[in-house]
């Protein structure tokens, strides 16, 4: 294992030191491992919190700032944060209008946030609502599993719903919008290599040179199937087809994100996006906005995921609203 780290057990603490040095517009609570805006939003506005295991950067800490999140709770690499972190963050960011918890659908994340919501309500009376994202079409039969995983749509949701909260919408409206965004988004990912968790010191799984994992999760969980390595045009098809067959995206604008998984250079991501765009156009999907880069990653895994979100004029307006975070910034 060759990584830019000191000790494997100090990776998160050391990375948070770097975040606070690099971003004076953020405030890092090193004890609770929570990243906040240095300048809290105005009183009376709904606050947004997300969080999860680390290793998916810029998600979630890179999306704290004006127009997106108010706080991000950081767990150990690929391990959910604990309820006490979330309770602390919830109490700190509440501006009297309640707090929305944005949770990716993983068993640990869901249970820890659920406990945090109960504890925050009991201790401080802050009103907490929760949206659980579950956009990963790689998990086919959600009746017989823990359900679809929350992946790329989480990024788009944090941006769009963050803009709505910034406008001063109340908690019910913010919650409704967040559920609508989740319901209208679908994602699919693929891996060319495994990733190496620092504490484990070796790759999570073996993936031979001539094979790729289709439908991989963001922790290196297995996907739909292991298939022979193919060219980018064919990979694009294998990513786009399951998304389009799961939801009808015709008849309105869409927002498309192509995210790297951490170990793939931008030139390859753009190359792949070129193939994705051709397929979407052929299928009658009207791409109104695009994001290409590393936004939801899996440490050093090579590969990419595609997310398509069915939008409308209101969603596009919220997408275009000003945002100022480490991971996304425009309009300010």
């Amino acid at each position: 294992m060759k990584k830019l780290i000191n000790k494997p057990e100090d990776v998160l603490a050391d990375a948070l030191k770097g975040v606070s040095e690099a971003h004076p517009e953020l405030r890092v609570d090193h004890q609770h491992r929570v990243i906040y805006r240095a300048q809290p939003k105005d009183h009376g506005k709904v606050a947004l919190i997300s969080g999860g295991g680390s290793g998916h950067e810029p998600l979630h800490g890179g999306f704290v700032g004006v127009g997106m999140l108010d706080a991000a709770c950081c767990g150990e690499v690929f391990t959910s944060p604990t309820p006490d972190q979330m309770v602390e963050a919830t109490t700190v960011v509440d501006q009297g209008a309640g707090v929305l918890h944005i949770v990716k659908n993983y068993t640990g994340d869901v249970m820890n946030f659920e406990m945090a919501g109960e504890m925050a309500a009991a201790d401080s009376g802050v009103r907490v609502e929760t949206v659980v994202t579950d956009d990963d079409v790689a998990v086919q039969d959600s009746t017989w599993t823990a359900g679809r995983r929350g992946v790329g749509v989480t990024v788009l949701l944090e941006k769009i719903v963050g803009a709505a909260a910034e406008e001063g919408r109340d908690l019910d409206a913010v919650l409704d919008l967040s559920k609508r965004i989740n319901a209208q988004g679908r994602s699919m990912g693929m891996a060319l290599t495994s990733c190496t968790v620092p504490a484990a010191g070796k790759p999570t799984f073996d993936l031979p040179e001539d094979q790729m994992e289709m439908g991989v999760g963001i922790h290196g969980e297995p996907g739909r199937k292991r298939v022979p390595l193919a060219g980018a045009a064919e990979i694009a098809e294998q990513l786009v087809d399951p998304i389009l067959s799961d939801l009808d995206f015709q008849g309105g604008p869409s927002i498309v994100m192509l995210s790297g998984l951490g170990g793939t250079p931008l030139i390859e991501l753009y190359l792949l996006y070129g193939e994705v765009a051709v397929l979407l156009e052929k299928a009658g999907v009207q791409v109104a906005r695009t994001l290409v880069g590393d936004y939801i990653t899996s440490l050093d895994m090579a590969g990419a995921s595609v997310t398509v979100l069915k939008a409308d004029d209101e969603i596009l307006r919220l997408w275009d609203a000003p945002v100022k975070t480490a991971g996304l910034r425009w309009g300010l």
């Binding site: 767990g75 150990e76 690929f78 391990t79 959910s80 944060p81 604990t82 309820p83 006490d84 993983y106 068993t107 640990g108 249970m111 820890n112 659920e114 406990m115 998990v139 039969d141 017989w144 599993t145 823990a146 995983r149 504490a199 484990a200 999570t204 999760g217 922790h219 969980e221 297995p222």
Partner: protein
């Protein structure tokens, strides 16, 4: 006949469980590598070390079973993370509610404590029999505990029966398809592996029997 269980014996139970997860930690993590995310042993070791740090001196200072178990639950919830933190944490928090201010538990109270804990796990994790989870070790274990009491055995005999039944329940998870948690994404590929949560749950009930045996 062991008639009652003191708070000191509950601390011995926790201590015995801590020793067991240290001894079996590598095995638990190996089970978790096969169908999960390879951290179950490490997470429980971290959690139970934190628990024993938090309850040191608890017997002399606090004295109530409810206070002890609540502290155990909160410590697990705040130190473990993942799925096992909320599940084991909720087990002890609910167990604490069942024992309340008692400083000594008779056999029926021990059963009520364990049942409340299991109900907490079901409420938190929504698991049912045969989903290949902790439930598949704990539920048969508690049923055996209740049957043993009905047939006139003392609390130690009941705990030993529970530990045996939980071990059988653990082994019976091997051929199952996982329907809850991260292992469920594997579908058919989860067959042929013992569930790590069922394995650690069996250790929890074995630790209770060991602590009661040591207490005489």
């Amino acid at each position: 006949m062991t008639e009652s269980v003191s708070v000191a014996t509950l601390v011995d139970w926790l201590s015995s469980f801590r020793d067991a997860v240290h001894e079996q930690g590598t095995y638990l993590t190996e089970l978790d590598s096969a169908i999960g995310d390879a951290d179950h042993g490490a997470n429980l070791i971290r959690g139970m070390d934190a628990v024993m740090g938090a309850v040191a001196g608890e017997v002399s200072t606090v004295g109530s079973a409810g206070d002890l178990l609540k502290k155990v639950g909160m410590t697990l919830v705040t130190s473990v993370g993942g799925a096992s933190g909320p599940l084991y944490g909720t087990f002890f928090l609910r167990a604490a509610t069942a024992t309340g201010d008692a400083t000594s538990l008779d056999a029926a109270a021990v059963l009520a404590m364990l049942r409340a804990g299991l109900e907490g796990i079901v409420a938190r994790g929504k698991a049912e029999a045969g989903d290949k989870t902790m439930y598949d070790a704990l539920a048969p274990g508690l049923d055996a505990f209740a049957s043993a009491l009905e047939s006139g055995r003392d609390v130690l005999g009941a705990a030993e029966a529970a530990a045996d039944a939980a071990a059988d329940g653990r082994d019976a998870t091997e051929p199952l398809i996982a329907l809850k948690g991260r292992a469920s994404y594997l579908g058919e590929r989860s067959v042929g592996h013992i569930d790590p949560g069922a394995a650690s749950s069996a250790l929890l009930l074995r630790a209770l029997a060991d602590a009661l045996a040591a207490a005489g």
